[in-house]
Every structure is written in structure tokens, then in C-alpha cells.
Subunit: 110 residues, 2 copies
DNA sequence: AATCAATACATAAGTGAATTATGTATAAAG
DNA sequence: CTTTATACATAATTCACTTATGTATTGATT
């Protein structure tokens, strides 16, 4: 894992984009997917993830369906149309940020 | 300016790299240089910059020389050998972070 | 059968890097 | 002569995160 400071402010973007790419997912599944995609570098903590999901739901960006597997409860999240717009915004925001940082740090990102 | 959340954790990296590229600089000059390089997108605030500079100095990453221009005092900062190592570390840390985010968000950064 | 690790959710307490606010003072511009 | 820019500094506050804690089911290990 790299300096976790850099991760600040990226959580919403990550959650939204992963949900866009993989469709309907539950919380724990998101942590595992991100862990996998990041090659163990990004380990979302529950204390950050669940409140973030609740907030996005409250804002109408995500909708939920609860499913019971055996005796275990799973809460599936998916994007609302509004959420779909937000993903685009957040991702292009991030790309713009990278571009800007590339200029400031004078590094060519790839 | 884009979502300022993303900027968190990048301040040290920015300051160190700008100092590496431009040599001896004073605080206010750093804010102006970063503003210019970022095309007005990154406006370092004094409340963040000065404490960061003091901290890096206390850690032996920067050394200072005070100069008096007229009646105005300027405090010039430059990298120590240790600081030079830290820049490399921070910049490659950042590049690694970008790469990782590219994978997670499934976007090709340029 | 018992214990540990993984799965799955949730929330409260604490941290720390930032923002915002405030203060001092000189120089230049209008 | 008053506003804007230059130049430093620090204290108070904020808020997204980490850390800690809690509950409960499932699967693997001894």
C-alpha cells in the first residue's frame, strides 16, 4: 500500500465507478473487488465504506435491494439515473485532477 | 478549481517537487508558481503551506536562508540532500497511486 | 465440539491534514 | 489615501477518514 493520504477524496469516485462497471453489488463485495483491481493496494475500510454508501443512497445516487442468502442478509446497491450522471462527473473530475498534477509535478503520466 | 478533496495529501509532494524543479524559493513564490503551473486550479492556502514548510524544515528536508528585500523579509527554502531523496519517494508514490487508480477506475490516464 | 478466519452489516470515538479566520507589516497601484 | 498585492505566521475549526467496537452467520481447522 502507498501513502494512504492520497486516497482521501477518492472513495466516492471509486465506489460509484465500480458500481457502474459491475452493476448491482453489496458492500463487502465492493471492498473485495477494489482490493482485487488495485492489487491489494486499496483496502476500503468498513468504517469509511458503509457511511459513504448510506450517504449516496440518502442523496438519491444509489438504490438498494435487500436479499437474504441462508440466514445472511445482503444489501445490494446500484446506481440511479442521477447516480449515473454523478459517476461521469466524478471520473472526469479525477482525470482533470491527474492532468493538473501532471503539469505541476512535471511528470508524464504514462 | 476541481473538487478540492482530491488535493488532500498532495501538498508535500507538490512543494517538494516544485522546489526540486525551481531551486531556491520562498513561500509566496511557491503559491504563485503552483497557481501558474496548474492554470489557476490549485491555489495553495497560507494556512496549509507555511505549517507544511515548517514541518519539512524541522524534519531536515528543507533548509532556509532569510533575505531582506527593502524592508520586506523573505524566507528562502531549498532541499537538503535528505529532502532530495524524499522528493523521489513522494513522486514515485504519486505515480504508483495514479496507476492504481487507473486500474480501479478502468480509465487510461492519457 | 470447539475455535478461528472469513463473510456481512453497522455505528461511535478519535485523528489529522486541511480550510477558514485572524493578525502583522511593506510595496505598488489607482 | 485607500485598495490590492506581497510576505510572513498561527489559532480555531471542519470533516473525511481510521480505529475501535459490536452483532451475527458460515466455513475451515484441530
Amino acid at each position: 500500500m502507498h501513502s494512504p493520504e492520497l486516497l482521501k477524496g477518492t472513495l466516492q469516485t471509486i465506489v460509484l465507478k465500480v458500481l457502474k462497471d459491475h452493476g448491482r453489488m453489496y458492500g463487502y463485495e465492493i471492498t473485495q473487488r477494489v482490493k482485487e483491481l488495485s492489487d491489494e493496494r486499496i483496502m476500503l475500510t468498513e468504517g469509511a465504506l458503509y457511511p459513504a454508501l448510506h450517504k449516496l443512497e440518502a442523496e438519491g445516487m444509489l438504490k438498494t435491494e435487500t436479499e437474504t442468502i441462508g440466514k445472511r442478509v445482503r444489501k445490494y446497491y446500484s446506481l440511479t439515473p442521477q447516480g449515473r450522471n454523478l459517476v461521469k462527473e466524478r471520473v472526469s473530475e479525477f482525470i482533470d485532477f491527474i492532468q493538473t498534477m501532471g503539469n505541476v509535478l512535471q511528470v508524464s503520466l504514462r
